[in-house]
């Protein structure tokens, strides 16, 4: 019987305590502050400071690997392919007489056959007048 009465008393005390706490919210705030100050909150295993750097590194590597694998698996869009592979037409402009710095009026030789040829060197047409003597090594 005594135990039952004691239990009742404890319940009454607890109720009173709870009622007092509800009446005065300042007490609740102080309790919360006390717990935060003196008891560390529960941190997940992987987020503990000792494991944080390796965990972040692992995540970074995973993300990087996924990014590298993406272009291999991702199909190339047809529209983009058409645009990039589109052949370009090169327009050749014929040499105009005014472009040439040199104009040859007449060529002759007693020693062999002559040849006048023009070749573009770095965009500049260069004229060569050559005599083939037959025995030379040109």
């Amino acid at each position: 019987m005594a135990a039952g009465e004691e239990e009742k008393k404890i319940r009454e005390l607890f109720k009173t305590y709870m009622a007092e706490e509800l009446k005065h919210p300042e007490i609740g705030r102080r309790k919360k502050a006390f717990i935060q100050e003196h008891f560390a909150p529960h941190i997940p295993f992987v987020l503990r400071p000792a494991l944080l750097v390796p965990t972040l590194s692992f995540i970074f590597i995973c993300v990087l690997a996924l990014q590298l694998m993406k272009p291999v698996t991702k199909p190339i869009p047809q529209v983009a392919l058409k645009e990039t592979v589109k052949p370009k037409t090169l327009e050749r402009t014929p040499f105009e007489e005014g472009d040439l710095g040199v104009q040859v009026k007449q060529v002759s030789s007693d020693m062999g056959s002559t040849l006048v040829f023009q070749k573009s060197s770095q965009g500049v047409p260069v004229i060569v007048i050559w005599v083939f003597t037959g025995g030379s090594n040109q």
Binding site: G101, V102, K105, V107, S109, M111, G112, V131
Partner: protein, 149 residues
């Protein structure tokens, strides 16, 4: 005595003010001539003008080029210049006429009275003209003629 000094003073002033007096001079032109020996012996490039190097590589298939002579020729209209080049060849350049920037030139390469190359050409810009073919030793001579400004 005093008059003589005054006359000499005026004469000196006149000479200083008009140094080129003495009749109108014909327009002159400076040509640069480089005599290059092109051969297949070795792979050396020994040229005074590096610009020729790229042009020669593009134009010919020789492996070695050596500039054996270099000349600067000043010609007036109608004037002729004879240049002795290796291998007993002679290059005779004649400035036929000048029309503004355009130069009309006669070039003759000869040896022992025989015309190796006889040509008439006009040069407009700074582009050189290459005259070639005279055999020398185991190669051929290439003459680069360029108008200087």
């Amino acid at each position: 005595m005093k008059r003589g000094r005054i006359f000499l003073g005026w004469l000196l002033i006149g000479v200083l003010l008009f140094p080129s007096y003495g009749g109108s001079q014909a327009p002159a032109l400076t040509l640069k001539v480089a005599v290059i020996l092109a051969s297949n012996e070795g792979s050396d490039f020994d040229l005074e003008n590096d610009a020729y190097r790229d042009q020669l590589i593009r134009l010919f298939s020789y492996t070695a080029y050596e500039q054996v002579r270099g000349y600067s020729v000043v010609l007036e209209e109608g004037e002729q210049e004879l240049i002795a080049i290796p291998g007993d060849y002679e290059l005779i350049l004649t400035l036929q006429r000048l029309e503004g920037e355009k130069v009309f030139l006669h070039a003759l390469i000869q040896k022992g009275g025989n015309k190796f190359l006889d040509t008439e050409l006009s040069l407009l810009g700074p582009t050189p003209v290459f005259l070639g073919g005279p055999p020398l030793d185991s190669g051929n001579l290439v003459l680069a003629i360029e108008k200087l400004y």
